[in-house]
Structure formats: structure tokens, C-alpha cells
């Protein structure tokens, strides 16, 4: 199991976290290559069905990244993300999805280092779990 490399789908908002990922890259910061970034215009675009779809087609974890609360490009999009994802996390946990598999964080365009930290931390979390077999028996 020590060779388990989780696949993580990261939904990054166009204005903050995607630019944060870009900054981490252009600054040559090191972070695990486990994430697959999907750019969305706002983290508020992320429907709970996106999370379940990602998990059902083979992602070991899902990471939703948005602007810090109060800094949303669309003013209130990430507040809505926060409500929706808090419910999604709690509810999926109740259904039997380990809470580590669905994570939400905030990262601004100037926080390349934070982006690298979050990705490392989420990858570490998921390495503690076994590969996601929930949707394929």
C-alpha cells in the first residue's frame, strides 16, 4: 500500500485558486503530482453531482478550491459554495464516504505556496486511506 498514489480531482475557481496554482507552477514550487485540475469560473459552480461523478469514475478524492470568503470575484459565490459543500461533506460522510475524500479549501491568486501546502496535505490525507473502491464492485 505504500505505493498508493491517490488521484485527486481539484475544482479550482478561475479567479483565485486557478491563478494560485499557476503561481505555484511558475514559482517552481514543489507539490505532489496527484491532482488533476478542472477549472471552473467560480467554486459556486460545483454541484454535488460533480463530486459524486468524480468519485464514481475513479477519483480517490475531490478537492474544491475557491477564493477566500469575502474575496469572491462574483462577491458571494464562495459563500454559497461553503453552504453547499458543508452539506455535501456531512451528508456523504453519513452515507459512508470517508470525510477525507471530499475537501474544500480557499486559496487566493497570490498564495502559490498555500496552494502547494493544501495539495500536499490533501494528498497525505488520502494516502492514509485505501484506493477508492466505493463505486466499482
Amino acid at each position: 500500500m505504500d505505493t498508493f498514489e491517490p488521484k485527486i480531482v481539484a475544482f479550482c475557481c478561475n479567479w483565485c485558486s486557478y491563478a494560485g496554482a499557476d503561481l505555484a507552477g511558475t514559482s517552481r514550487m514543489q507539490y505532489p503530482p496527484n491532482i488533476r485540475i478542472i477549472r471552473v469560473m467560480c467554486s459556486g459552480r460545483v454541484n454535488p453531482s460533480f463530486v459524486l461523478k468524480a468519485l464514481s469514475v475513479g477519483a480517490d478524492g475531490v478537492l474544491v478550491l475557491g477564493c477566500h470568503p469575502g474575496d469572491c470575484h462574483y462577491l458571494t459565490g464562495n459563500y454559497r459554495t461553503r453552504r453547499r459543500m458543508a452539506i455535501t461533506k456531512k451528508f456523504l460522510e453519513y452515507m459512508g464516504v470517508e470525510p477525507e475524500r471530499v475537501q474544500v479549501s480557499w486559496c487566493s491568486a497570490s498564495e502559490g505556496s498555500r496552494f502547494a501546502e493544501v495539495v500536499s496535505a490533501v494528498t497525505d490525507d488520502l494516502k492514509q486511506l485505501s484506493p477508492n473502491r466505493l463505486f466499482n464492485d
Binding site: 453531482s49 453552504r83 458543508a86 461533506k89 451528508f91 453519513y94 452515507m95 459512508g96
Partner: protein, 320 residues
Amino acid sequence: MTEDLEQKLRDEVRTLLEKGKIEHVIGYGEGSLKFATTPIMISDQADVDRLVINPFIHNNLSVLLPEVSGKVAVVAKVCDARSIISLVQNKQVARENVFIIGVPCNGIVDVAKVEKLTGLDRDEIDAVTWKDDRLVVTFAGGSKEFSAPEVALDSCLDCDCSGFKEFDLVIGEITPVAANKELSRVRIKEMEAMTPAQRWEFWKNEFSRCIRCYACRQICPVCFCERCFVEETEPLWVSPLPRWQDNLIFQAVRMMHVAGRCTDCGECQRACPVNIPLGLLTGKMEDIVDELFDYRAGMDKDAAPLMAAYEPEEAEDLMR
């Protein structure tokens, strides 16, 4: 007691129709099966006597509201009335077009529970009536009494009708149901005590039976999307293959979509032909929404829908 209420309801509805205050009324009529009622819509005063009130008025009639135009009266228990307010909050119906007629209920009787408790088939039971807060079941050779929490639908057990003030007219007196919140959460607590793997196994077992008939969705008053995500093919959210995981995805996403609108009325569980305990999901969702955001669906018509509002500081402990 119920005869009086029935008569009062009929008189009130007749007056409302006569005065032109309403064009139609949606209520309960005698069902074709024993111990069942059926939804009826009445527009003519001559038909008013078809309305009934009895311990089996289980349907949540608010599901029919968005399909009816004009001013409509609805016969509603508190849970149904909360669904109506939920629809008003979400701009699916206009408050001024709905006239909510509140009817008291001690909890809707689950005939299956009565059968189990008495050991009789429903054909062998003669009558089931409320006598104050006791349910009296009479059958050939005797009668038995039960308390409301013993015989009510699971979803009635956590009913809290205090504080609901949106009725336009109340028939009789709405008294708090003999609810037992603790009892209603026993199974949810058991679920929470399991490990995630055990819970997944539990739901695997349940959702393996799902035939994806979508009865839960059709009967749900607050599942009002014109196009459901399960019918979208590009992208395909739920595979048409009969995999239990896709059954689960459908239900999980449905639950998350109705969070903050669902009043835990229990209709989805009642409609399910394969008896999936959906009340365990709706009940938990109600608890999550209450715990995280201190929100109860359908209580205040002026409150913003849960997902359309926010507080600057909330739920941050769940974020990384």
C-alpha cells in the same frame, strides 16, 4: 371527533367557494382501498361532501400545487403546510394564490404498524379512530388502544408543529403531536455509530433494491426542477446501467439538491415500492441543516431559501 371536523371542513370550503374566495380546493377523498385516502380536487360546491378527514390522510398535497392555476385552497397538515411555504420561499407558487386550510393530526397512522401490533390483517380490522391522543382499533371480538408514537408514520415522530403560523384557516385545534424526537432518531444514531465502511455496506444493501422508478422524486413537493439531472445525457451524471452505485448517486444528489427545502414529510419513503428507508436520509439532512445553519425548511415564508443565503462566518471548521 373526526365527523365534526369533516363537517366543519365541508362547510368552510362551501362558503369559500360560494364567496369566490377560492376557485378550487385540493383535499382528501375516500380511497378505493381500506384505510386509505386519495387526493381530490374540487371546483364545484356540489362535490364538497366528498372531502374527508381521517387518520389516513397521508398524502402531501402540496406537490399538486404548482400544476394548478388560479386561487387554490389546500387541506394541509403542518408538514404539508411547511412544504407549501417551502414552495413559496422558492417562488414556485405565489402565497396569495394559496389558501392553506390547516387540519389537526395526531400523527398519520401507519397501517402496517397497526397490523404488526395487533397481529391482524387490515381486512380483519373494522375501524381505526382517534380518541383524544389514543388510537382505538376495533375488530371482531374486541378493541385495542395504542399511543400515537406506536402507530404513527416514522416521519411523524419528530413532528414539531409549534411555531408554525402560516395557516389561513384552521379546522379544529392544532395541538402538538405526541412526538418523540429521540425515538425518531434511534436508527440515525445507530447509523452514525457505524464506521464509514459499514454505512456504505448498509446503503449498498438498500440501494441494490432500487428500481429507479423515481416515485420518490415525483411525489416530492420540493423536487420541482423541470429537468432532472438524471435525465441529462451530456454529461451523463447517472449511468443508465442498473448499478446500485448509480441508484445511490441519484438519491444522494437528490437529497443534497432538496436540502433546506425538504421538510422530512416522509412521502418519499412512503412512495418507495421497495421500502428503502429514505427517512434515514431526509431526517439526517434535516439535522445537518439545522445543526450547521440553524435552519428549518418551510417555517417562514419571508426567509431566504437556504442555498440562496449565507452568513459571513459559518461552517469554516469543515473547510481545510
